[in-house]
Symmetry: C2
Subunit: 215 residues, 2 copies
């Protein structure tokens, strides 16, 4: 199978296509043209067609795209038909919030364990998943076929823990710590830097206020 290089820009848009198609599906819309979709998503029709054609010709001339089919196909591209076992590392506020967020299960992500260094959390469970001690983590990963670790710990220890995760053979890390992790090429990292997002918000407020300063 020929492997074309897909740009980051396209990959970033894929989940958004998936979301919009899911909404259309819920609304009972059977088919949609790139032009109609472009208006909803505030993109150009051209860009949508280009993006999709990176992965194949999902449409039909004169008809457009079948919503259900395209939704399913993008789901496949995103790997959502696969099940992924994951653990949460760091049972603080954010870790607990993500553990409680059962919605991920619908997308094939199955919470298998929660880990923390704090011994007072021992015995606690979230959605029937017990909090375990960090010292048990490596063995747990190996024995329970864990693919993904969600890292919700302070940045100070994130790099060391990431190293442990890599040693244990983790395949991917969803990183919420405020550091950039340097891991081997065979480990996938997707970071969510909340404070950077908030700074962009702050930047835009400043710019807006500057532009509208009355003087």
């Amino acid at each position: 199978m020929e492997t074309r290089k897909i740009s980051q820009a396209v990959i970033r848009r894929l989940p958004r296509y998936y979301r919009y198609l899911g909404e259309l599906l819920e609304d009972g819309v059977e088919r949609i043209s790139s032009n109609d979709l472009s208006k909803r998503m505030k993109l150009t029709a051209s860009q949508i067609r280009q993006d999709l054609n990176n992965f194949g010709g999902f449409g039909q001339q004169g008809y457009g795209y079948n919503v259900k089919y395209l939704h399913t196909e993008i789901g496949k591209i995103l790997g959502l038909e696969n099940k992924h076992n994951f653990i949460i590392v760091g049972a603080g506020n954010l870790g607990q919030a993500l553990a409680n967020y059962s919605h991920f299960e619908n997308q094939g992500f199955i919470l298998k364990g929660i880990f923390d260094v704090n011994p007072t959390l021992r015995g606690m469970s979230i959605r029937d998943v017990p909090v375990r001690m960090m010292s048990e983590m490596k063995d747990f990963i190996k024995e329970n076929n864990i693919e993904i670790a969600v890292l919700t710990i302070p940045k100070e220890c994130a790099i060391d823990v990431a190293k442990d995760l890599v040693d244990a053979g983790i395949q991917a890390i969803w990183n919420f710590a405020h550091v950039d992790l340097n891991v081997p090429d065979n480990v996938i990292v997707e970071s969510v830097h909340l404070s950077e997002s908030l700074m962009r918000l702050s930047y835009n407020i400043s710019r807006y206020n500057e532009d509208h300063a009355d003087k």
Copy 2:
């Protein structure tokens, strides 16, 4: 003052520069060249100089950049010297987690209120901030000089609540709901779509597995 158009790509990198400079500052590094910084951040030196020169000449030939000065200046550009009052709308798991996250205070974001529709949450407080009923929200925004609303509610009600926020004169929305908000031009929206981030992770796992399938 001349307003140059700053590209989204540059804005996205700004907080990351700020973070790296903060780390250098903590480590006691006084000055750094674009070349050294580029190696740490895995960018090109050229890109760093281009990015910074969108905002002014912060460096000195033959010397490089003064870490403390540059850190401060980027902080100003990001608007971090300003204080921003904010409220959290939706006191579920994520809302509570963000309310507990006191780190935002350091960056000038001050939690003034938490709102929810659920009456059983009435009387609860997080870091001395009481949970109030959604019906009080509009007046509270107007009376307490609230600039930012953090939206951590299900997507079903997000659009309606966003409308209320706009009506109450909110300046910016940090949106965690799984919808794209359509608000007037004078309201700033910064979205964090966690499920889309997770899908990109999933995509990368699939791509990796495909490339390494033994056949």
